[in-house]
Amino acid sequence: MIISIASGKGGTGKTTIATNLAVSIDGPVQLLDCDVEEPNVHLFLKPEIEKTQIITTPVPEIDLEKCNQCKKCMEICRFKAIAVVGEMVLTFPELCHSCGGCMAICPEGAISETGRELGVLETGARKGVQFSHGRLRIGEAMAPPLIRRVRDCTLENGLTLIDAPPGTSCPVIAAMKNTDFVVLVTEPTPFGLHDLKLAVEAVKILQIPMGFVINRSDIGDDKVRAYAEAEGIPILMEIPFDRKIAESYSRGELFALAHPEWKARFIKLAEEIETLTQRGANKK
């Protein structure tokens, strides 16, 4: 089973839920940090990194000896990543989406592929939690291809948790797609509710069952609860604001490890998600 933890708004507690849930569960569990722009899971899980890989995406390389400046590559590229200027062929690797169109269309076979570095993929473990994350290279714009590489680390068996990036656009979709359940972490404030509604729409498009976790549940107002009820989306957990939790978070601590009552609540959360996922599967 794959559970993704997403939010819409940033800073609502995705990583807090993902990490505390991972360390609370007995049995094999994997945690994939798909927030490759700002990966934070490792700061809390503190895994031993066993493997580091540089991840690249294919971009064209032109053999000027073979090129006869026919411009077919420039014409096919919809991302303006190739320009033929006189005798010169300029490539703009940072604009390239790696579709391979230029290589396929070149009648002279003058185009091959080299790699543009997207970032690194690291894999490790701590206390029975298998861990992988991606870290986007600074200056690299495209997160989704690296997110897909992190997703490729998904193990066949057991439970996989995915910490998704904020927002509702392509990086979040790459992180949530083909998962069995989405936990949307929100806070009961106007910003929280506004972005939660967007996230719900995104999850609906992907047709994945979902539930809410309300963090800092005693601040703000009651509108998130009213919205959950109107939409028929279950509230799986509420975590009241506690300055001690906020402070322990600031130090990189996992409160489920220090407080057995929270560990029990996270185990219950996992069980509830499993029940809801099975119910969803039965409906299909």
Binding site: L43, R78, A104, P165, G167, T168, C170, I173, A246
Partner: protein, 292 residues
């Protein structure tokens, strides 16, 4: 004309709440919301929308069933596995590269331009505002950010406004890169948590990469004073000005619930005083005082 862009790396550090407060303090400015993916600034500014325009993104492949012979060329060539065995394109997976369109031997694939969102020109109590709404699950957020910032500049020139305040998105990827280019000064709102520091460092690196001047504002500084000192030390080592510390204050949430900025909700409180100090420190940084 000067543009201040508010970033953070990590989400939820207080970018939007501070942007809105700065707008109140600036008195005359143009507001720009570059967080097109999860835009929230309008919840505090209640803009009156004067003009709404569709945002044309890239194309999306559509297979014309009548013309399709089922040869499978498109499926073989698509690197995103966006075309199913039934020759239906999954729009969410389609990258918009058009390779299938160009290689289909039957020319059976259309490539209509998709409307990926809307952008708006509005009025607020602090002046004009340019903002946008990217469609759910859409791509091209960087392109929309670039458009919104471009329109903000154009409008500021037209209205004779000298200052643009831009609320940026979280992260360091595509929309953030589109938010920093050409900015006069980036303000990174950092929080003194291990994740806040980690993400601030990456946002700082991004600004250095694109050679944009940057200053740091520490929000919720009293949540962990050791980490606050750590941020100040990091900034000092990088020769980045720290424009101030703002305390953790639940008044921010109370103001948000009322749809107000903190300056309007509780202008005499201690957080408001600190925001005033931060704002004048930003305006006095070398990046802002050097004429451009």
């Amino acid at each position: 004309m000067k543009e201040i862009v508010i970033l953070s790396g990590k989400g939820g550090t207080g970018k939007t709440s501070l942007t809105a407060s700065f707008a109140i303090l600036a008195e005359k400015c143009l507001l720009c919301d570059a967080d097109v993916d999860a835009a929230d600034l309008h919840l505090l500014m209640q803009p009156h929308i004067n003009k709404q325009t569709d945002f044309q993104g890239g194309g999306v492949a559509q297979i014309v069933t009548d013309k399709c012979t089922g040869c499978g060329t498109c499926i073989d060539m698509c690197r995103w596995s966006a075309i199913g065995p039934d020759f239906v394109v999954n729009e969410i997976d389609c990258e918009g590269c058009g390779v299938c369109v160009d290689f289909c031997p039957e020319q059976a694939i259309d490539f209509p331009t998709k409307i990926c969102g809307q952008w708006f020109i509005s009025d607020t109590r602090c002046g004009p505002m340019v903002h946008a709404r990217l469609g759910i699950a859409e791509e091209n957020s960087g392109k929309l950010v670039t458009l919104v910032r471009h329109e903000a500049r154009r409008l500021a020139e037209e209205r004779g406004l000298q200052l643009i305040i831009t609320d940026g998105p979280p992260g360091v990827g595509c929309p953030v890169i589109a938010s920093v280019g050409g900015a006069t000064c980036v303000v990174i709102v950092a929080e003194p948590t291990v994740s806040g520091i980690h993400d601030m460092a990456r946002a700082m690196e991004l600004c250095r990469h694109f050679k944009v001047p940057v200053v740091i504002c520490i929000n919720k500084f009293d949540l962990n004073t050791d980490n606050t000192l750590k941020i100040e030390k990091m900034a000092h080592e990088e020769e980045i000005p720290v424009v101030g510390r703002i305390p953790f204050d639940s008044t921010f949430t109370l103001a948000m619930v009322e749809g107000k900025t903190l300056m309007e909700f509780d202008g005499s409180g201690s957080a408001a005083k600190q925001i005033e100090n931060v704002w004048s420190a930003i305006l006095n940084t070398p990046a802002m005082t050097t004429s451009n």
